[in-house]
Amino acid sequence: MMRFLLLFSRQGKLRLQKWFTPITDREKRKVIRDMMTLVLARQPRTCNFLQWRDLKIVYKRYASLYFCTGLDDQDNELLTLEVLHRYVELLDKYFGNVCELDIIFNFEKAYFILDEFLMGGEVLETSKISVGVSMEEADTLQETMEEYMSKPAY
C-alpha cells in the first residue's frame, strides 16, 4: 500500500498531503522535510526511485509540482508511476489543463478527486471515466442542495 502522497513545488511549498497510515504531526513534518530534501536534490534525468528508511519512494515531476509517494516493499514501483500519472490525468480532465494554481485555489477539489481514485493506500477505481462521472454527480448534488437551501454556492 502507499503510505503517503505528497505534492510540493520546487520551492518547497506543500500543496497536498495525504497520509494513509496514522502518524503524529511531528512525524509528518519530519517525513515532509526528508522527502523534500531528497527529491529536490535529485538531478533531472535520474531514476524515479529511491530508498528511504524501509520504504520505496517513487516521485515524478509534472511541470512545477513534484508528486512523491512512499511504498511498501511488495508494491510495484513501475505501476506506481502509472498511478501518479493517472491522478494527474484526472486532475487535468476535471480542471481543464490543470496547473499548480488550480490545485492551490481548489485544494479541496483535488482532495475529493484523490478520494475517488485512491483509498486506504490502494487504487480504488481503475476507469478514467468513472472518477470524472462521480465527481460531477457529487458536485451537482452539492450545488442542488445549496440552491434548494438558497444559500450561497460553496
Binding site: 513501475l78 502509472e82 485555489f105 481548489n106 475529493f112 483509498m119 487504487v123 462521480s134 460553496y154
Partner: protein, 799 residues
C-alpha cells in the same frame, strides 16, 4: 462548480504577503475570524470557514480548534457541509485524537444513508482514519454493504474492509465469504477491490490462503479476459487493458502459487502468455512484465518459464530507461542466490551500470556486482570494482571498500594480488575502511613471507607520496619498522630496486610523527617503528635515540608513555633491546575477543592481531622485587596478553618466543616466577585402584571449549575387557564423548585406551566431571566412580 469566494480571497491574501511575518499576520487574523464564526450557532458560511482552516493547516499552522467543528459539520444534513466536514476529519483527526470517537455515530448513520455519495464519504473517512474500535463497531455494516449495494459502494466497501482487516486482524474471517463472491462481478473497480481484499486476507491467515487457492482458475480466467480482450476505452492505458487490475491479480497469484505445485501449474500457461504478449515499449507494459517476472520467480514454475523470466530481466538491463534498469537489478539481486548462473550471464551489463550517472542505479549495480564475484572472474571484476571505487559517490565508498575486501579474501588468486588489491583500496579510499582492516592487512603481510621485501618497498613508496590516509600510513609504518632491513638492502625481486638510505627512512617516519594529519594511533605506530629500526639499522641509532627522547615529554599521554619506555630500553635494558625488538613471528588468525589461549609451546597463540594497533613488541616483565613506576605504566599500555598458567595474573605475560629465543636472561629476570610450560599440558592421574589407572590431560581449544583426554592403563596381570568410561558434567556445560580407541586393556600396561571428551563451558562455571569406569576382569564386572574437581592446565587466573 463556482469557486468559493471567501476562501479564494484568503488564499490570494496569504500568497500576496511578501514576508513570513506578514503571512503570519494575515493568518492570525483569519484564524481569529474563523474561531469567532465557529462559536456562532448556525451559519451559512460554515463550510467556507472550515475550508479556510484546512488551507491554513496545510501551510503548517495549528488548526486543532477546528476539530469539534468537523464533528459538527459531519453531523449536518447538508451535503456540502458533510463533504468539507469529512475532509477536515481526515486531515485534522486521527485515531490518536479523542474527538475521532465522536464521529463514529455519524459515520454509522451515514453508512446507511439513502444517497450513495454520503455513504461514500463515510466509507472513505473510515478507511482513512478509522481506529480499531471504530472498525470493530462498524465491520458488520461494511460486510452488509459488500454484499448488497451497487458497484460504486461495493468497491469502496471492499477497500474499507481492507483497512479494517489491517487494523483488526481477526475480522478477516468475517469478510472472506463476501470477498469470494465479489470475484464474479464485472465491474473493474469492484474486482480490483476484491482482489486487494483477498490478497490482504491471504497474507494474514494461512488457512484462508488454502481456501482461496481454489479460486486460482477463476483468477486465471479473469486475467486471460483482460489480456486477450479488445480495446476498452475506459480501462485502456497505452494498449494494456486495465494494468492496475492485471498487476494486482498477478500479485495475488504469486501468493497463492508460492510453495504449491498444483496452483503453480494452473497459472503456468497464463504467465507464459502474459510474458510473451505484453508490449514492453511503454512503462505500463513493463510494469505488468515486472510483476509477471516476480511471480514466475517466486512460485514453483517450470524451468522454461523461469528462463523466460530471467531473460526478460536481461532485456530490462539493456533498456534505455533508467527506471527499468534499476528494477531489473533489484529483481536480479533477489535471485542471485538461487539462479546464480543465469544472472552471471548478464554480468557484463551489470558491471557497465557501475558507470551510470545515477546514484540509485550505481548502488544496485554495486550490490549485484559484489554478489556475482566468483573465483573465475575475480581478476576482471576486481579491476572494475577498483575503478568504481575511485569514482564512486561518498555514501557508497565504505560499502564498496568492505565488499572488495570480502571478495579479495575469498577469491584471491595469489597473495601478492591480495596485498596489491588491499593497498590499492587503501590509497583510494583509506578513510572509509573499517578499523579491522589494518590488523587484517598486517596479518596478511606477515603470512606472505616471500613478499616482505616487495611489500615494504611498495608501502614505502606509498608513504612518500601521501601520508593522509591513516590506515595506509599505519600499515606502512608497521612494515617499515618490521622489515626495514629489507628496505635498506635495496634489492628486490618483484619490483624495481630503489636505493633507500637510513636517513630517508627515518625522515619518512619523522614526517609522519610530526604531521598534523596523523592521528594519535598513527603516531604511535610511527614511534614504535622508529624504535624497531634501532635494531635493524647500523648508523643512525643516535638519531633514533634523540627522536625517542624528544617524545618523552610529548603532551599525548600514549606517545609519552611509549617514548619513556623505549628510552628505558636504550638506557637500562639495552642488552635486551635486540631481543625485544626482534622480527615478529607469523600472526595466526584468532577469533576476536579470544583472550585465553593457552601457551602450549606454540609461540603464536599469545599474540592478539586485533590489538596490534597499539604497537609493537612488549616489554619484559619486571621482576617482582622491582615494583617500580614502570610496572604501573606497563599495566595500561601493553597488549593484554593471556597470562601463562603458572604466572600470577598481575603483570602481562611474555611472548613465549622471547623465552625460547632470548635464552636464559629473561628467565633470570623473572626470578621466582616460573616460566610458561613449553611442553604440552601434563597428564594428571585421577584414579588408581586395583591396578587400573586413569590419567587426565586437557587442552584448551577456545574461550569456552576444552578437550579432555582420558587415558586408561592396566598394570595387573590379567587382561581387562569391555572397558567403558562414562562422564557427567554440571548442567550448563556441554559434553561430547568421542569414540574410545578400544575397550580392552591388556595386562601389564601393554597398551592403553584413550578417550577424548570435548567440553564446552560457555557460562564459565566451575568445571567438575564425574567419571564412571566399568570393566570386566577375570570374569567379574567392576564399576567405580571418580569425581574430578580440578583440571590441569586451567589456571585460576586464566579462567
Amino acid at each position: 462548480m463556482s469557486p468559493s469566494v471567501p476562501l479564494q480571497e484568503m488564499i490570494r491574501a496569504i500568497r500576496s504577503a511578501r514576508t513570513q511575518c506578514e503571512e503570519r499576520g494575515v493568518i492570525q487574523r483569519e484564524c481569529a475570524a474563523i474561531r469567532a464564526q465557529f462559536r456562532q450557532s448556525d451559519n451559512g458560511g460554515r463550510s467556507h470557514n472550515l475550508a479556510k482552516l484546512l488551507y491554513v493547516h496545510m501551510l503548517g499552522y495549528p488548526a486543532h480548534f477546528g476539530q469539534m467543528e468537523c464533528v459538527r459539520m459531519i453531523a449536518s444534513p447538508r451535503y456540502s457541509e458533510k463533504r468539507v466536514g469529512y475532509l477536515g476529519a481526515m486531515m485534522l483527526l486521527d485515531e490518536k485524537q479523542d474527538a475521532s470517537l465522536l464521529i463514529t455515530n455519524s459515520i454509522k448513520n451515514d453508512l446507511s444513508h439513502s444517497n450513495q455519495y454520503v455513504q461514500s464519504l463515510a466509507l472513505c473517512t473510515l478507511a482513512c482514519m478509522g481506529s480499531a474500535e471504530m472498525c470493530r463497531d462498524l465491520a458488520p455494516e461494511i460486510d452488509r454493504l459488500l454484499r448488497a449495494s451497487n458497484s460504486y459502494i461495493k468497491k469502496k466497501a471492499a477497500l474499507c474492509a481492507v483497512h479494517i482487516v489491517r487494523k483488526v486482524h481477526d475480522l478477516g474471517e468475517l469478510f472472506a465469504p463476501a470477498a469470494r463472491s465479489l470475484l464474479t462481478e464485472k465491474n473493474h473497480g469492484v474486482l480490483h477491490g476484491a482482489v486487494v481484499l483477498i490478497t490482504e486476507l491471504c497474507e494474514r491467515n494461512p488457512e484462508t490462503l488454502e481456501r482461496f487457492r481454489k479460486n486460482v482458475p477463476d483468477l486465471v480466467q479473469i486475467m486471460k479476459g483482460l489480456v486477450i480482450s479488445g480495446y476498452s476505452p475506459e480501462h485502456d492505458v497505452a494498449g494494456i487493458s486495465d494494468p492496475f487490475l492485471q498487476v494486482r491479480i498477478l500479485r495475488l497469484l504469486r501468493i497463492l502459487g508460492r510453495n504449491n505445485e498444483a496452483a503453480s501449474d494452473a497459472m503456468n500457461d497464463l504467465l507464459a502468455q502474459v510474458a510473451t504478449n505484453t508490449d514492453s515499449t511503454k512503462t505500463v507494459g513493463n510494469a505488468v512484465l515486472y510483476e509477471t517476472v516476480l511471480t514466475v520467480l517466486d512460485i514453483k514454475s517450470e524451468s522454461g518459464l523461469r528462463v523466460l523470466a530471467v531473460n526478460i530481466l536481461g532485456r530490462f538491463l539493456l533498456n534505455n530507461d533508467r527506471n527499468i534498469r534499476y528494477i531489473a537489478m533489484i529483481s536480479l539481486q533477489k535471485i542471485v542466490g538461487t539462479d546464480h548462473n543465469a544472472v552471471q550471464r548478464h554480468r557484463g551489463t551489470i558491471v557497465d551500470c557501475l558507470k551510470d550517472q545515477d546514484a540509485s542505479v550505481k548502488r544496485r549495480a554495486l550490490d549485484l556486482s559484489l554478489a556475482l564475484v566468483s573465483a573465475s572472474n575475480i581478476r576482471s571484476m576486481m579491476k572494475e570494482l577498483l575503478l568504481f571505487l575511485s569514482s564512486c559517490p561518498l555514501e557508497l565508498r565504505s560499502q564498496a571498500a568492505s565488499g572488495i575486501f570480502n571478495a579479495a579474501e575469498r577469491y584471491a588468486p595469489s597473495q601478492r594480488w591480495h596485498i596489491d588489491t588491499i593497498l590499492h583500496v587503501l590509497t583510494t579510499a583509506g578513510g572509509d575502511v573499517r578499523d579491522e582492516t589494518v590488523p587484517n592487512l598486517i596479518q596478511l603481510i606477515t603470512n606472505a613471507s616471500e613478499l616482505h621485501c616487495y611489500t615494504v618497498h611498495k608501502l614505502y613508496r606509498a608513504l612518500l607520496t601521501d601520508i593522509s590516509q591513516q590506515s595506509l600510513v599505519q600499515v606502512a609504518c608497521w612494515c617499515i619498522g618490521e622489515y626495514g632491513d629489507l628496505l635498506l638492502r635495496g634489492e628486490c625481486q618483484e619490483t624495481e630496486a630503489v636505493q633507500v638510505s637510513e636517513d630517508d627512512v627515518l625522515d619518512a617516519l619523522e614526517t609522519v610523527l610530526q604531521s598534523h594529519m596523523s592521528s594519535p594511533a598513527t603516531r604511535g605506530f610511527a614511534l614504535t617503528a622508529t624504535m624497531k629500526l634501532s635494531t635493524r639499522i647500523t648508523d643512525n641509532v643516535d638519531r633514533i635515540r634523540s627522536i625517542v627522547s624528544i617524545y618523552g615529554s610529548c603532551i599525548d599521554v600514549e606517545l609519552q608513555q611509549r617514548a619513556v619506555e623505549y628510552n628505558a630500553l636504550f638506557k637500562k635494558y639495552d642488552h635486551m633491546r635486540a631481543a625485544v625488538l626482534e622480527r615478529m613471528p607469523v600472526i595466526e588468525k584468532n577469533s576476536p575477543g579470544h583472550t585465553n589461549g593457552e601457551s602450549t609451546g606454540e609461540p603464536v597463540k599469545d599474540i592478539q592481531p586485533a590489538k596490534v594497533k597499539q604497537g609493537g613488541p612488549l616489554l619484559p616483565q619486571q621482576p617482582a622485587n622491582q615494583v617500580c613506576d614502570l610496572l604501573d605504566l606497563l599495566g595500561g599500555s601493553e597488549e593484554p596478553l593471556q597470562p601463562s598458567p603458572a604466572v600470577a595474573g598481575t603483570a602481562p605475560g611474555l611472548p613465549a618466543n622471547t623465552i625460547s629465543q632470548a635464552g636464559g636472561d629473561l628467565l633470570d629476570l623473572l626470578g621466582g616466577l616460573e616460566p610458561a610450560p613449553l611442553a604440552p599440558a601434563p597428564a594428571m592421574p585421577v584414579y588408581e585402584k586395583d591396578g587400573v589407572t586413569l590419567t587426565l590431560s586437557c587442552e584448551k581449544q577456545s574461550d569456552s571449549g576444552l578437550t579432555v583426554t582420558l587415558t586408561a592403563s592396566n598394570s595387573t596381570d590379567s587382561d581387562i575387557s569391555s572397558f567403558t568410561l562414562q562422564a557427567a558434567v554440571p548442567k550448563s556445560v556441554q559434553l561430547h564423548m568421542k569414540a574410545p580407541s578400544g575397550d580392552s586393556l591388556p595386562a601389564r600396561g601393554a597398551a592403553k585406551v584413550t578417550q577424548m571428551v570435548v567440553l564446552n563451558n560457555p557460562n564459565k562455571v566451575n568445571l567438575k566431571m564425574r567419571v564412571r569406569i566399568s570393566y570386566n576382569s577375570q570374569g567379574s564386572a567392576f564399576q567405580d566412580t571418580v569425581q574430578i574437581d580440578s583440571f590441569p592446565g586451567l589456571s585460576a587466573a586464566g579462567h
